[in-house]
Amino acid sequence: MTESNFCGRTRREFLWQTGAGFTGTALAGMLSEDGFLENQAVAADGETAWTTPLAPKKPHYDPQATSVIFLYMYGGPSHIDTFDYKPKMKGMDNKTIDVKTFGRGGHKNQGRIVEPRWNFKQYGECGKWVSDLFPHKAEMVDDIAFLHSMTADSPIHGSAMLMMNSGKILSGSPCLGSWTTYGLGSENQNLPGFVVMLDPRGGPISGAKNWSCGYMPASYQATIMRAQGTPILNLAPPAGMTSETQQKLLATLDQYNKEHQKARQDNTELAARIANYELAFRMQTAAPEATDISQETAATHEMYGLNGEKSGTFGKQCLLARRLVERGVRFVQIYSGGNHNDANWDAHGDLEVNHNLHAAETDKPIAGLLKDLKQRGMLKNTLIVWGGEFGRQPTAEYAKGTGRDHNSYGFTMWMAGGGIKGGTSVGTTDELGSKAVENRYHVKNLHATILNQLGFDPNKLSYFYDGLEQRLVGVEGAQPIKQVIA
């Protein structure tokens, strides 16, 4: 391994600050490794002219994927009721067995089996078994790679979600979308590079911590985009202010600023601020255009399930995701489920009611997204990631009912597009799905795979903070999951 390895073995000239403080513009170029810095259009030395930290940058290699859409199933869908077929559990309902589990109810050595509640059928050329929860998605299995042996460090929502989003169970690190925009910048400066869309029932627990840029500068923070009303906070001029008025106001502002700048030509931050008003003005037009789905055909609306009673909202978000990616947005994360309890996939009570609801909300939209990307030739460059922070246990959480507790010992996620080999399934859990047994993969391997598809060596994409070269995959590093890479 090279010097970019943990704690940075050689002393590099780190750009702690330039001029008046710690500037994001200087830090943006701080990707280590040969040749990488030179590729950057940013002022890595803190002395050259200002360029936005989100200017497009080249990764280490030619990327397979140029954008990511992360479909986040908040709460943790049950793998054995969806994609991880467990025929041997048939007929075992209510049987008490010895099995080690660890969820919010603590460590247990025994439990009452809750047999998977949906029937499975085989689909596609690959013959993948998929439960009746996902009749639409099932048609797309030949484009999907299933990871059945996922493991995570925590079976508790708060820390597990931080792990899935930022690679660490401790609060304070940047999440995947921030790493992506830090590494790649954004193709379209008129739109944010990293967009998060939330469930109308509320955000996930820990809220903004899930899309935080952590110790990185605010340039890499997520922008929340809403499916209804003004898409982005502060995007629309205040009520009553017309575009003409705003333009006049900006023209006057520009005159004041340019005059102020005259005697301070060397200060690039002042120039950057002036440029940012133009950018902001353009965003005011670009974002509403990007989110205007009336431009889409009725057939497209139908394909995404926009007309469905339950699937309308998520469908619209999936459609928006496609439109954003089409316009150069790097990273889109959509949350299925919000708030608490059964408002998301966290099926502690009635498993059937819970999963029937959330599957109905997302199945058609996700299938529509995959189909649409495929027919437009965009799937090959767009990496789709599906899953929650963990899976669920094979046994019941309580003496009565079908509710399942959390399970981070083994669960399923899937990926599609962006250079991922469709129609594959890797890793297995045991006969009950209680834990991963073969080819176990950690969340870090998933992250490594995502970075790899984006053109990065996941063990080299680093950011210097707190005395060491921080990486999304952590100090120990992690390898991409080669079996699913085309």
């Binding site: 820990s206 605010a218 906070l233």
Partner: protein
């Protein structure tokens, strides 16, 4: 399919039988190793433990010596008890699990087992060479040479250097600066204009703009002491503590909630904030400030300040539902160690948690010896609200005579008891009604009212629930407003007079304890042995007092250097050591090491008082330079490392917000007390799992208080603050970012807050400047820029207003839009 399955099962059986039947002699043969064992090792183990690997865990499996020597988990093969060898444990997924991605197939396990049981021999000629792992960097060993690193040497008292241009020198600081400039053949910039200088001084010391009257008084004061008088006045103003206290809050990861799922509120955290502000305003010696925070509870006797100060330990993130309680304890201790070593000592000791520090001479043992000072520490809490009360909340006054009973206090107690009775009654009823998951959730206090509401009309009467909600609010209010002699605070508590034992944790894993260690200071600093006395008055170990006394000492090589560097940093935008939390090898080298030591010496000689240091620095010519660039200097030293001019800077998020209120006349200078809640737009609240949860209401007047009083919720940072690079809320933040991004422009132009403030500004101008548009514009400009505007500038404003009116925009609105423009000006946000 069925046939295929049985065939493979069958062949597996054959294999298993074959392996099991391997005689010890066979398993000991060279052929067995080469044909059976080595291929498995190569395929499964060598990636991490082979001849071309980096030897994970220090283990090499390619030769006999490697097997016997083993790695961090001990020998891989135990020749005394072959069957108990760690290697076999690991491949069978016992206490270790190797290979980590999946367990080996049974036949391979059988082969390796046979081989190990037969003695794990490796035939001659098959022994592989152990790869050379890069030798430890000599800079990381504690030696005479590394002890001589600049930051680890005692603070020197360097002579003030001679310079040529002595007329420029106003303070010895200037000698140090000018010497380097002259060496580099650079000239210092001219003196800043008086208006620029006073604006700079006001913001630097108080975070607020001067008034036009302040500026004019200064400009017209022709005495030599004119600027000194301004400095003296500002240092005496209470707003000084609010500005400089906030710098300290950045360092100690100050926030008022815990992060994670519940992101619950830290009770009384604001008292720590007030303590910090008060300490700066009182010009408390820095040594005392350090001791109070690190060990104020162990003072004999403690003072209310010294008790509140220990809230320092409680400001970090807290996972109330950790995966492993043990690991969580060490994560919390690491947070304390990281903050303490970086903030007070400029050392990244946290990098030595899992292994020796890779850059600095800080062995892993030193990490755990340092950790031992905190090993009496009780965790913040254990899941429930009540546990937090037990572990982290206590009275401010410990002397019984302070708790004088009086009528007001009795009335408060009575009312508190009344609220408690109402609350406890409903809590008991709820315990009978709630589902098991709700009972689990109920442990956190934040969700209790929400849960109770679910049972309104379903087991609890509506009135009872309303009363419950009111009682919870009232109870908090009573606790927040009790007089100090009966008030509570967020404090540290220890497990008792005998702390936990501390062990080196192998690879930082809380479950793998190594050698036991005793408290000790980092060895590279050649420190004295800690003197630990068990306190009489408090149930704690006295270890933190020993630590505090060592840090807060003239003998400590780092404490004074680190703190004067921070003072310098906040005056000049960059420390003499740029990486102000890291004075180690990977940190920045000091640009002016002699000046740093000279300042550190002055600081100590002056009794560790900050205000004298501010004055010393601000009276220098270096501080009073213009920010104007000159071409030759800019070409030679574009980053201004040698200080040939003053650095321009943008206002911080707090300064920006405060300046908006200052400009439009609404700023409320009320100090202290529970935090305030600005209005957060619905779009932002929608990101919370319970939109609006944990965010309160404040009156308009309260919302116009200084930004340092805004409630800091880790998962919900006020958006204007976040956009303008507010400090990282989860970890110590030595230097804030200064980013420039379009969201800033959008929020200053379009946000509800800015537009509301623009309207207030317009009203203010109409009231103060009368009906004449030109007067309104002139006053607006002067309040935004703190200077008299020129005629063309006024005309430009008038032209905008006229043009908007011509479009049919009403007069009031046109003026409001002009005010909004003022708030967006670069000159409003940037200081020369």
């Amino acid at each position: 399919m069925i046939t295929r399955l049985s065939i493979s099962t069958l062949s597996l059986l054959v294999l298993l039988t074959a392996a099991a039947a391997t005689s010890a002699a066979d398993a000991d043969s060279a052929a067995f190793y080469k044909d059976k064992v080595l291929p498995i090792l190569e395929a499964r183990c060598f990636e991490c433990h082979g001849p071309e690997s980096e030897l994970k865990g220090g283990l090499f499996l390619g030769n006999r010596e490697g097997l016997l020597e083993g790695g961090e988990s001990g020998p891989a093969v135990d020749t005394e008890a072959l069957e108990d060898s760690v290697l076999l444990d690991a491949i069978n997924y016992g206490s270790y699990e190797m290979p980590p991605d999946s367990k080996l197939p049974d036949d391979e396990i059988a082969i390796l087992t046979a081989w190990v049981k037969a003695g794990a021999s490796i035939p001659e000629g098959s022994e592989l060479e152990r790869p050379e792992i890069k030798h430890a960097n000599p800079a990381t060993l504690v030696t005479d040479e590394t002890k001589n690193y600049w930051a680890f040497r005692p603070v020197a008292n360097p002579a003030v250097p001679q310079v040529k241009n002595s007329t420029w020198v106003a303070s010895p600081i200037d000698n140090f600066i000018l010497q380097k400039l002259e060496q580099a053949k650079l000239s210092p910039a001219s003196r800043a204009e008086k208006q620029q200088l006073i604006r700079r001084a006001y913001y630097d010391l108080t975070g607020l703009p001067p008034s036009i009257a302040d500026i004019e008084a200064f400009v017209n004061d022709k005495s030599d002491r004119a600027f000194e008088k301004v400095i003296d006045r500002l240092l005496e103003s209470p707003q000084y503590g609010e500005r400089w206290g906030r710098h300290w809050l950045d360092l100690v990861r100050y926030a008022e909630s815990n992060s994670y799922e519940r992101d619950g509120t830290k009770p009384f955290a604001w008292r720590y904030r007030d303590y910090v502000i008060k300490s700066f305003n009182e010009d408390k010696p820095y040594t005392q400030f350090v001791k109070e925070q690190l060990a104020g509870d162990e003072f004999e006797p403690p003072t209310p300040d010294s008790i509140v100060a220990t809230g320092y330990y409680r400001l970090g993130i807290w996972d109330d539902e950790p995966v492993s309680q043990k690991q969580a304890l060490y994560d919390d201790l690491d947070d304390v160690l990281l903050t303490t070593s970086q903030v007070f000592l400029g050392l990244t000791m946290n990098c030595a948690r899992c292994h020796d520090h890779k850059i600095d001479p800080l062995p892993q043992k030193d990490y755990y010896s340092f950790l031992a000072f905190f090993s009496g520490f009780k965790r913040y809490g254990d899941r429930s609200h009540e546990s937090v009360q037990d572990a982290s909340i206590g009275p401010i006054a410990i002397n019984p005579e302070d708790r004088t009973r009086n009528a007001a206090r009795q009335e408060m107690d009575r009312e508190l008891g009344e609220q408690d009775r109402k609350i406890n009654h409903v809590n008991r009823r709820l315990q009978e009604l709630m589902t098991p998951p709700e009972k689990e959730d109920f442990k956190a206090v934040e969700v209790r009212v929400d849960i109770a509401r679910k049972y309104a009309g379903k087991g609890l009467s509506n009135k009872l629930v309303d009363d419950y909600a009111a009682a919870v609010l009232r109870r908090k209010e009573i606790l927040d407003t009790r007089p100090s002699e009966v008030a509570q605070a967020l404090i540290i508590k220890e497990v008792g007079r005998k702390p936990r034992d501390t062990f080196i944790l192998v690879r930082g894993n809380a479950n793998v304890e190594g050698e036991k260690v005793e408290p000790a200071f980092p060895s590279v600093l050649s420190p004295p042995d800690p003197v630990i006395k068990t306190p009489v008055m408090t149930e704690s170990s006295g270890r933190r007092t020993a630590l505090a006394n060592w840090i807060a000492s003239d003998k400590n090589q780092l404490t004074a250097r680190v703190m004067v560097n921070r003072i310098w940093q906040h005056h000049f935008g960059r420390g003499i050591v740029g990486s102000s939390n890291n004075f180690g090898n990977i940190g920045d080298k000091p640009t002016h090491p002699e000046l740093l030591d000279w300042l550190a010496t002055r600081f100590m000689q002056g009794g560790w008082k900050l205000k004298a240091m501010h004055k010393l620095i601000m009276l220098s010519s270096t501080y009073q330079m213009s920010s104007q660039a000159s071409e030759s200097e800019l070409a030679a030293d574009p980053a201004n490392k040698l200080y040939w001019r003053f650095n321009m800077r943008r206002l911080s998020s707090e300064e920006l917000r405060d300046s908006v209120h200052a400009a439009n006349g609404s700023l409320n200078l009320k100090m202290g007390g529970p935090s305030i809640y600005p209005i957060i737009p619905q779009e932002v609240l929608a990101g919370q799992s319970r939109p609006g949860a944990g965010w309160g209401n404040s009156s308009e007047q309260e919302r116009a208080r200084r930004a340092v009083y805004i409630f800091i919720k880790r998962s919900l940072v006020e958006p204007l603050m976040a956009d303008f690079d507010f400090a990282d809320v989860d970890a110590t933040c030595p230097v804030r970012f200064v980013t420039t991004q379009p969201t800033q422009a959008l929020s200053l132009l379009n946000s509800e807050f800015m537009n509301r403030q623009a309207a207030v500004f317009a009203e203010f101008l109409k009231k103060e400047a009368g009906t004449d548009s030109a007067n309104q514009v002139e006053l607006g400009l002067s309040r935004a820029t703190q200077r008299r505007p020129t005629k063309p500038e006024i005309d430009r404003g008038l032209a905008l207003i006229e043009s908007l009116k011509a479009d049919g925009v009403p007069d009031d609105i046109a003026l409001k839009y002009y005010c909004l423009t003022l708030f967006n000006m670069n000159e409003f946000l940037y200081l020369d």
